[in-house]
Subunit: 686 residues, 2 copies
């Protein structure tokens, strides 16, 4: 990586807006630089002045420029056209001497992105021009995304603040898993996801293509996999090639996952001869762990997998193939005399040992096919060589354990989006925190992490709102220095990136209104929108625990409409904390809280009426019934606090009981304001 002279040790962490000057000897009096970069770069120096984006904005290549880089520049130009009125790429002169942006890439880099690519870049915005320098295309693509996020309005025009950025990722493996088996996600949804990944510098698309509920990848060698195991919902080989190329164009690797030996019901339905005993009789519809597995004792199993993987590597050029390997419930392995005899003969003492034997054989196949193996925690076994990569889902401790044993690892525990946790919660999970007792060698084995979007309760309509913008917060954790962890600032920038993603066509924000309108059948959903704004969907575990849901259930409930970590959660929290500092001297905050509670009380009657007539709203009748009383005690608390009066113990008991009732699970959704409300109720009593 190119060394930047001015970048001393003190500057090796991100410099926050304004503060940086204090560190580097300030040259930016009066700078209006609004740092909305997400992820934050490794190092940034703000300078005087700004570069004005003009309609004749053009790009010059000072070095090699292959199709991938030109395509990235085309996307930049299209975005600048939409945002800032720059001419269409084709209408500006190509490679003009007086280009606004000069790009110097030292070499095009590997033909496809790999885990070893140098992704660094150096970006310099001066008042008279912009230069982007990078060792490879991959770094240059990241630099272009940073450049785009720097564009900001300034009166009647758009500018980039003068700035020098020297950036490279903290972790080289920054992935997003999308489960396309439990619910199929069409090509358009996958492409939108890749578009968004590029923006936040995620670089591995982990494509979960097979599971109990469906095989989604076309095999011409074994066509029954999709003929029998997919409900007709799968990616053709042409579509897969198209998506791999689309990702490649954005510097994103595609790592396919083929679950084996468990999580393979759909596969075993198509080819029962692979089964270790009982073969399934249909595609698995109920979620959870299915009691089927492949037979690790028969050579034919490996011959089948060999042929299958040999075909798959023609579609997926990445150096890694994910074999799943998690949650192998294989009752047959324990009861089949034949399998037990095999285990005895091979000195395999339990199912885990048998699975390790299976993995060793698969590893041979992959090695011959010139691929590395990656698998979930359960493949971790001393029987396997050190060059397998372990993906950790069972807890953050696992990654330390496997790295202590010398295995490379990536972290997904803490990054499961179906837990419906806040961006903040995920954001604070670090794959290799500095306080952890890890040797330098062990740290070097931790390659990064992956966001995981499991598909039980996610369909093409809801995909975006379940992934974004929360995944962007994790993307920053995987890219930026460990010290970047200011929650408020993260949310401020997340808001900007959320709008940027919308501009690309993502539907994470709009989906809620669309779903509400579909639920009630009319365009005006103002009351229902107010109600929905203070609800969050329950986690996968809560929803699944209550209701052993099936793949065939439609995802058309209010819980599918509302977003995890909605703005109202933070707004209520922020407002209440601020108000409680001086309740008798914060009339603006008092009025804001009152307005909130009044709006909630005001929408209740209409929502209750709709909940009794719209089938998709039946399940939230209880919640609709709770809202007016909760709003009332909120108003009463604020009134008392503002007036300096004290509510009775009886009132407090009643209010607390109401809140406790509302905390119980109901309708697969929960209120986001109960914490602040509790604080208000408590304060109003004392």
């Amino acid at each position: 990586m190119r060394h930047i002279k001015w970048m001393g040790a003190l500057l090796l962490t991100v410099i926050w807006h304004g503060q940086m000057n204090a560190v580097s000897g300030a040259r930016v009096e009066g700078s209006t630089f609004d740092n909305r970069l997400l992820p934050q770069p490794a190092a940034l120096r703000s300078m005087d002045g700004e570069f004005v984006v003009a309609p004749d904005f053009a790009v010059r290549f000072d070095g090699p420029s292959d199709v991938r880089l030109q395509s990235a520049v085309g996307r930049l130009m299209a975005a600048l056209h939409d945002k800032a009125g720059v001419g269409l790429p084709s209408s500006t002169a190509s490679n003009p001497a007086n280009a606004a942006l000069t790009i110097k890439v030292h070499s095009a880099g590997s033909a496809i992105p790999t885990a070893e690519d140098d992704e660094s870049y150096h970006l310099r915005v001066a008042t008279n021009g912009i230069t982007l320098e990078a060792p490879t295309d991959y770094g240059a693509i990241h630099g272009l995304e940073t450049l785009l996020q720097l564009v900001q309005p300034s009166q009647s025009r758009f500018v980039l603040p003068a700035v020098e950025i020297d950036d490279s990722p903290r972790f080289r493996w920054r992935g997003l898993l999308v489960d396309c088996s439990r619910h199929f996600e069409p090509v358009a949804e996958i492409k939108r996801t890749l578009d968004a990944m590029e923006i936040v510098k995620l670089n591995v698309f982990h494509w979960h293509l097979t599971d109990d509920e469906g095989v989604r990848v076309e095999s011409k060698v074994f066509p029954k996999l999709t003929q029998i195991g997919s409900d007709g919902l799968f990616y053709t080989q042409q579509e897969i090639r198209d998506i791999v190329a689309y990702a490649n164009d954005r510097g994103i690797r595609v790592v396919p996952e083929f679950e084996m030996p468990g999580h393979s019901t759909a596969w075993l339905l198509a080819y029962p001869e692979l089964s270790s005993g009982n073969a399934p009789t249909g595609i698995r519809r109920q979620f959870g762990i299915a009691p089927y597995a492949m037979d690790p004792t028969r050579d034919e199993t490996y011959q089948f997998i060999d042929r299958f993987l040999a075909e798959m590597v023609t579609l997926f050029p990445d150096a890694y193939v994910h074999i799943g390997g998690d949650e192998t419930s294989a009752p047959d392995w324990k009861t089949s005399p034949r399998i037990q005899a095999f285990m005895h003969a091979h000195d395999l003492k339990d199912s885990a040992a048998l699975q390790a034997y299976f993995n060793q054989r698969i590893l041979k196949i992959l090695t011959r096919l010139n691929r590395h193996m990656i698998g979930w925690d359960e493949i971790f076994n001393p029987a396997l060589p050190r060059d397998v990569l372990i993906q950790t889902w069972r807890g953050e401790a696992s990654i330390a354990t496997s790295s202590a044993e010398g295995y490379q690892g990536i972290l997904s525990a803490g990054y499961y989006l179906d837990g419906m946790q806040s961006a903040e919660t995920h954001y604070l999970v670090d794959p290799a925190p500095s306080q952890a007792a890890l040797t330098a060698k062990q740290r070097s084995l931790i390659l990064g992490g992956e966001v995981a979007m499991w598909g039980e309760f996610v369909n093409p309509e809801t995909l975006d709102s379940r992934i974004w913008p929360r995944a962007a917060a994790i993307a920053e954790r995987l890219w930026s220095p460990e010290s970047v962890r200011d929650i408020d600032d993260m949310y401020r920038r997340l808001d900007a990136v959320s709008v940027q993603l919308e501009g690309l066509g993502l539907q994470h924000v709009t989906h809620q209104d669309v779903a509400l309108r579909t639920l009630v059948g009319t365009e005006d959903v103002s009351d229902l929108r107010t109600f929905a704004s203070v609800l969050e969907p329950d986690s996968f575990a809560m929803r699944f625990g209550r209701n052993q849901a099936s793949q065939l259930d439609p995802l058309n409930h209010l819980s599918d409409a509302v977003r995890p970590d909605p703005p109202a959660r933070r707004e209520f929290d922020r407002l209440t904390k601020a108000y409680l500092k001086a309740p008798q001297h914060s009339s603006a905050k008092q009025h804001a809280l009152e307005a909130y509670f009044r709006a909630l009380a005001g929408c209740s009657a209409a929502v209750k009426r709709q909940a009794s007539t719209a089938p998709g709203l039946q399940e939230i009748q209880t919640r609709a019934g709770q809202l007016p009383e909760l709003a009332r005690i909120g108003l009463e608390s604020v009134d008392a606090l503002a007036a300096g009066t004290v509510m009775s113990a009886e009132w407090h008991t009643h209010a607390t009981a109401l809140i406790a009732e509302a905390e119980k699970s109901s309708g697969n959704v929960h209120f986001v304001f109960l914490g602040p409300l509790k604080a208000l109720v408590l304060a109003a009593k004392s």
Copy 2:
């Protein structure tokens, strides 16, 4: 078409909700049938009871079922799955004896849809099952769409009211033109458009593929057409085949338009040898009429077009090819001695005669290629035989003129969506009103009409909101009996169909919020949303007249965000009319109006602030400045009316002046409430 016994002459118009019983001898006491069908069917009989949609809803074919019909049933099942929880198509038994829906199609119909297809169907929903019968696939597809619109919530489940429908279109040509030359619309946008067309039973996609601003169709014979004339934005032949197949699947014809001899700048840029004199030096960016045309005097021109059309008909199987022909401004034709000599030699007295000569030669080519010619008004010329089809854009009178001369015609005058008129305005335009002095023969020559979406100010983001839901109102005009013209009822059903279209993925409603967020860069746009809700975009003519806009201008202004014919327009109108009937005795309406005006006043400060900092909002600073004063006089009017006091003449003069000022054009948007406000101000004075 199957004759329905109960369908007497009295029933040959649509029976409105409830009223129908009075006509047919009522059997529906207590029926809760909420007729939201759009377009309304030719005849409908409501019956007792309802059919309950159960999860095992399955379909049986009692007769032929080809791929097209099965694919339509697949879409129905997917929609029922999303809406009403029916299982996935593949998870229900195929062709079961106890199917909920039995489909009987007499014959699959023509391989591709044609203007001669029988599109009728008969749909009967009984409490114990549904039957759909149709002479062809095409009718059956329409029937399936009607069936889907009948599904409605009833407590915790979904039902279809028992009903018998006998339906067929009033006009056989029900088209939608999309101009993909001035702005390119990618494949996804075209498919969304076709999805929506199917819902409202439009059956001709008129694809405007070439114009001055770009050639969008790949020619392998003449590759420079797109290499030079498209900015790289065009449909490959594979994409065209894909779209034609997609449309075919939905019973929609695809009629391509290749503009000649005018509107051909991009074409002449690629092949200057076709030009009648001066050849263009670049793709035309400025909108308006370009001074270039093909040379009608050279045989080479016809040889070129012959080879081009011969290639095109391999892509477009429809029996019609549209040759444009409008607005041929060809100064060379008048000044070139060679062309003048040719005209003299052939006894062609003017440019129109020369164009008629050109059209005759093109007609010969098309006839040899087994295609009918369709063109705009300007091709109407006695020199052409009677089997050309005239598309009327210059006024509703033209279609009467051409049909009087024995030409077939379709109407587009009155259906130009870029006029940004209300759905209501378009809805009342009838291609062949019964009061028009037309003979039966002349009426039979009027095949229908086409909605026209010209592309000067439309890009992929704004396309949906410019077409929908307004085009649905025109679709009803072209399908339903002439007597169906109740405006309020149309809007009630348009609201439902608008939500249905959203469920398909259309962005006509969500786009506004997305665009507002992009304009200001944050997720919360509540104030700007209030402001935008009372604005409409100016018409193409107004915007173009003020500013000779270019294809390269980004469409990122507030005028691109706001929707034509927004709900607030009708709401203000309705509320004001109702209030003014008894202003001192309508407190609910009074409060609603006050709340409206207060909200408008309330958002003004924030909007003014944003307008001064966001470049895309600069142009609406004047509008933002006008709003608080307009809101204030609105409030003052209502206050005075409610109190029974009279405002002074001075106040009235001032208020009237404010409104007059606000009526002036500014920022390419206008307020939708000035009419009602004027009425309030007038009432408050007297």
